[in-house]
Homo-oligomer: 229 residues x 2
Amino acid sequence: MSSPRKVVELFYDVVSPYSWLAFEVLCRYRNVWNIDLKFKPAFLGGVMQGSDNRPPGVVPNKFYYMNTDLKRLSEYFVVPLNPPSNPFEAMFEKGSLNAMRFVTAVAEKNKEEDVVVERVSRELWKRIWSTDQDITKPASFIEAGLKAGLSANEVEEILTLAKSQPIKDKLKSATQEVLEYRCFGFPFIVCHVNGKAEVFFGSDRFELMAHCIGEKWMGPQPLKPTAKM
Amino acid sequence: MSSPRKVVELFYDVVSPYSWLAFEVLCRYRNVWNIDLKFKPAFLGGVMQGSDNRPPGVVPNKFYYMNTDLKRLSEYFVVPLNPPSNPFEAMFEKGSLNAMRFVTAVAEKNKEEDVVVERVSRELWKRIWSTDQDITKPASFIEAGLKAGLSANEVEEILTLAKSQPIKDKLKSATQEVLEYRCFGFPFIVCHVNGKAEVFFGSDRFELMAHCIGEKWMGPQPLKPTAKM
């Protein structure tokens, strides 16, 4: 008799590098832990505004630390993080509203296939947080979509859908949904355990999270020693 | 041939609950890892001001999360954290300037005996972060000092010393020292590895820290399974 899989929701934005770490770790653990991982693309700008939080970039020492921290975590988590040449501009000036509308449209078009949202999100993270490429223009979404395995037609359809009111509203409502959990930044992970929502902020609570959901933390690469893939 | 012990400096303030977690974890690992742990009492208020950072308390959602997070971490780390009834007042209004001057004076008087600073710091943390007691008045320092095993005479001497200019300056210079590492909050851990300073903020980077100093993270209670104490 196996116990039911625990629903774990990952609220993320591709503008957030710590979200990428959490995303890859949860993708790796999806088949190791007894969980049902749900991707919840949302808009970090809206969360910051809705919670009256400030990005770490405005405190120079925090920003400096973040660079060191990400470099070390990238190596340890085996995620090819590499900050854009102008992270402040990429993260706070250009932002991710269009990117997250695109991801939301991908999710809407592929409701039964999480793997498509997963691949598109990863391609967008790679652009901004690995190869220092744009994630604000239609051409960038086309490239990311094609790399993720979508056809040119599908990408065109998704691009149109991304501009529609229902998709704008859907992204807004996902952002509102996570703010109701009193979110103030990403990644924000909501674990549904025995009818209770246990929330975790950041990519540094996996050991504690595992403890809370009755699983075992085996480091950022659980499949490495006994590879099943 | 054993390699030389790596110096690990813990910059902390007893007003900071996450510092308490880091302090207890490092005290537990002190004899497990090949490290030379150095306590560095400093003043969080000065660090926040010097780095132009804001305490998490001013973002309501962050403050709410911190409560949940600390409750879970307290259990998982086995540290009897219990927030004061008015954490905002205790942390940001009353503050810890006198407390940290007292700890600095304890360190000055007991240069060869780290265990005294350790015990006094722990008693102060217990007061503010476990039993909701004051840590701003002389009577509180007397109580903490006695509980930590100091004699009444020693406590009196330290109280006088704590008000002296050299001790005020010493606390200021420890605070300045950590700001030079571009610190923006506590705990702040500086590991000296192969002539390089690797810095870690928070009580959630131990797994990564262990990796950086060539040690193994075994969870917050390394001595539990094979207790040596």
